[in-house]
């Protein structure tokens, strides 16, 4: 049995091409039905995320399977030239390693991002729903999940925030412990600020206040985040209920000064206050950071956090790669043990055939026998062949070399002449 993985990702294909192929996987029922019809596809899993479209199959005829995948992709309005340029094909060991790397988020656009594992789990659930998987892919996928979890647990690959908005959330957690029930104030608007607010909200921030120069825009944003809107003039009053303030306006002067915040701190009984200043030029007086229990981060501070975190992630990724390589080898060994089973079965079948034929001949020569005598003869032949085959089978199961599984297998097959046609071909060539 061979493994084949065919796909493309953000490194090899344009977003345009990825979209087209991902679109064809949205109708999973049709895709599975179409591909399952091919006899080459013994076991099958398809998955697509915004950064990749990949299909994995266990097959006896890898070349036929690859051809089917190509035809399937081209059949959906993808120019064959574009497809050829961006498609990668991994077989066996490489396919296993690739899948492990993808699930462990080593192949992601943002290395270490946690969503990919969930997406692969969901894809596997879909595949089992279509009864497209079998013993090999079941085992491979379960192994993949445990490898990905191990990578996450044993390396720090997911520990460090690598986006500015998420860095703000992790800083908030170090200040407040939990963000549940905290109040966030968004001053101004802007993509990064809104993203940060979204992150804060999904992390449990309870109340959201939007302060904007134009009340209409403020109301719009407030509605989107389920918060309340105030005007920019009321900002100083919002220092009292606020815990986290994200500022991102185009104002040329400081919106809040050290003195304003100092006065507010006394009134808020020194509850900690976390400022995130994304604006350039800055909205908030840098001297605010000198006050006790006040923490001010501007865009450069956050960028620096992200930069160092990137470097840490890269270091952790090296550890993760080592872990993936070791696990790939282990799975390869298991796959190799699978390869000996057809040979063992062929051996036993051959022995049974010989026994039957010889018994029949002997019976004719002996003439009429009682039932007991006949049974005794059968038991005799069976136990002789069983004992003869016992050691070759043990040898096959236990002593074959995982890196070169075919060598011993080949010897045994030739020794017992299990593939008569092949040897005929060989002699013809000579």
């Amino acid at each position: 049995m061979n493994l084949v993985l065919v796909g493309l990702n953000h490194k090899t294909a344009s977003v345009d091409l990825r979209e087209k192929l991902a679109g064809l996987l949205t109708d999973l029922d049709a895709a599975y039905q179409h591909l399952r019809k091919q006899p080459a596809m013994a076991e099958l899993v398809l998955y697509a995320t915004c950064n990749r479209v990949e299909s994995l199959c266990a097959t006896e005829e890898p070349d036929a399977a690859i051809a089917h995948f190509r035809a399937f992709f081209v059949g959906h309005k993808v120019p064959p030239g574009d497809l050829e340029a961006s498609l990668y094909i991994h077989r066996d060991r490489d396919a296993v390693q690739h899948l492990f790397r993808v699930a462990a988020s080593l192949d992601s656009l943002v290395v270490g991002e946690p969503q990919i594992l969930g997406q692969i789990k969901e894809a596997y659930r879909q595949a089992t729903r279509h009864q497209a998987t079998g013993p090999i892919l079941n085992r491979l996928l379960h192994k993949t999940f445990s490898v990905a979890k191990r990578v996450r647990r044993e390396t720090g690959i997911g520990d460090h925030a690598v986006s500015i908005s998420y860095a703000a959330v992790t800083l908030g957690r170090k200040i407040f412990g939990s963000l549940a029930g905290k109040t966030a104030v968004l001053v101004g608007a802007g993509e990064m600020a809104e993203l940060a607010l979204e992150h804060l909200k999904s992390d449990g921030v309870g109340r959201i206040i939007v302060a904007n120069r134009t009340l209409e825009r403020g109301l719009q944003l407030a509605q989107r985040f389920g918060g309340e809107a105030v005007s920019l003039e009321e900002l100083a009053d919002q220092l009292l209920p606020a815990d986290i303030i994200i500022s991102s306006t185009g104002s040329p002067q400081y919106l809040l000064t050290r003195e304003q915040v100092k006065g507010a701190m006394r009134r808020r009984k020194h509850r900690p206050l976390f400022f995130i200043d994304i604006a350039v030029p800055r909205d908030l007086d840098p001297a605010i950071n000198d006050l006790d229990n006040v923490y001010l981060y501007n865009i450069d501070d956050l960028k620096e956090v992200v930069e160092t975190n990137w470097q840490r992630r890269q270091q952790e990724a090296v550890k993760a790669e080592r872990l993936v390589a070791a696990e790939t080898l282990k799975f390869q060994e298991w796959l190799a043990t699978l390869q000996v089973f057809p040979t063992i079965i062929a051996l036993k079948e051959k022995a049974d055939r010989i026994c039957e034929a010889e018994l029949e001949r002997t019976m004719k020569q002996l003439g009429p026998l009682t039932e007991e005598q006949r049974q005794a003869l059968e038991v005799l032949t069976q136990s002789i062949t069983q004992k003869l085959l016992h050691d070759p089978i043990i040898f096959l199961k236990g002593y074959h070399h995982p890196q070169r599984p075919t060598r011993e297998l080949d010897t045994v097959r030739r020794l017992f002449n299990l593939d008569p046609d092949r040897d005929a071909e060989l002699t013809e060539e000579d």
């Binding site: 407040f176 412990g177 509850r271 006790d292």
Partner: protein, 277 residues
């Protein structure tokens, strides 16, 4: 018998120290859970050892510096385990466990005094005074350790340099909550310790107050904690100031505990507890 138990306690505390330090470095949850269990097992041995000693002597053995260290370590571990159970702050064990282990070692290493024990020590009142004071000390020790962690973590967040400690230490709010809880538990205990002590002094020696160095220093520490607690509740002081005051208060208590026994003379010093026969 008594010492065998103390050796077992010591082994448990040092084992817990190793586990907690490993937890601090590797950040594996099961390491700190194992560390807490080992500390709890050590505390059981410790408790039995103290009961055995008290039973044998007929009074709580605090006549030498080493002996009082043993009782202090017991209070520290007990206070730590209660806190561990109540608050989600695990890292404190990385300081508390080694401290307890060193204090118990102190009992074994420091010279055991011989002589006639002052009758002042052989009273139930005094036992109550000592236990309250030492439990208060233990809670306030933890407040100080938490304060040290707070200052480190706050420094990193303010300076925006995220080093070795940033990831390993809990959030500022949790460390500040630790300060608050230790203070609200430790301060009343310390107060009760001072009151029972002065009542006993009045009863035995006819005066509440003796201008003894330990008395003066303890009351000074008490004043620092009183100010801190008042400002916390009334004005909302918290964070860095609260951490610094908790550390200051503890340093004064430390001088009162160690210094008054080693450097100063007074009726609280150990020299006066044992009379040469």
């Amino acid at each position: 018998m008594g010492n065998a138990l103390i050796y077992l306690t010591l082994i448990a505390y040092f084992g817990a120290t190793a586990l907690w330090l490993a937890f601090f470095l590797a950040q594996r949850e099961n390491l700190c859970r194992a560390g807490a269990w080992l500390l709890a097992i050590g505390l059981v041995f410790h408790t039995i050892a103290l009961i055995a000693r008290t039973w044998a002597a007929g009074y709580l053995p605090v006549a030498t510096f080493g002996q009082s260290l043993l009782v202090s370590a017991w209070a520290l571990v007990a206070a730590f385990l209660i806190l561990y159970w109540l608050l989600p702050i695990k890292v404190l064990g990385a300081l508390s466990a080694p401290l307890a282990a060193l204090m118990v070692s102190g009992d074994l290493l420091l010279p055991q005094g011989h002589g006639v024990v002052s009758p002042l020590l052989q009273s139930l009142w005094l036992t109550v005074h000592i236990i309250l004071a030492l439990l208060g000390n233990a809670a306030l020790t933890l407040a100080c350790l938490g304060g040290i962690f707070y200052l480190i973590q706050e420094r990193q967040l303010k300076a925006k340099r995220f080093g070795f400690f940033y990831r390993r230490l809990p959030s500022l709010e949790q460390l500040d909550a630790l300060n608050y809880w230790c203070l609200t538990i430790g301060f009343p205990l310390l107060t009760a310790g001072i009151i029972t002590g002065s009542l006993y002094a009045q009863h035995v020696m006819g005066r509440f107050w003796h201008w003894d160095p330990k008395e003066i220093l303890t009351v000074l520490a008490w004043l620092i904690y009183a100010v801190l607690l008042h400002e916390r509740l009334a004005v909302g002081w918290r964070g860095r100031r609260a951490a610094i005051l908790a550390i200051c208060g503890f340093l004064v208590l430390l001088v009162a505990f160690v210094g008054s026994n080693l450097w100063f003379t007074g009726y609280h010093s150990f020299a006066s507890f044992l009379k040469k026969p």
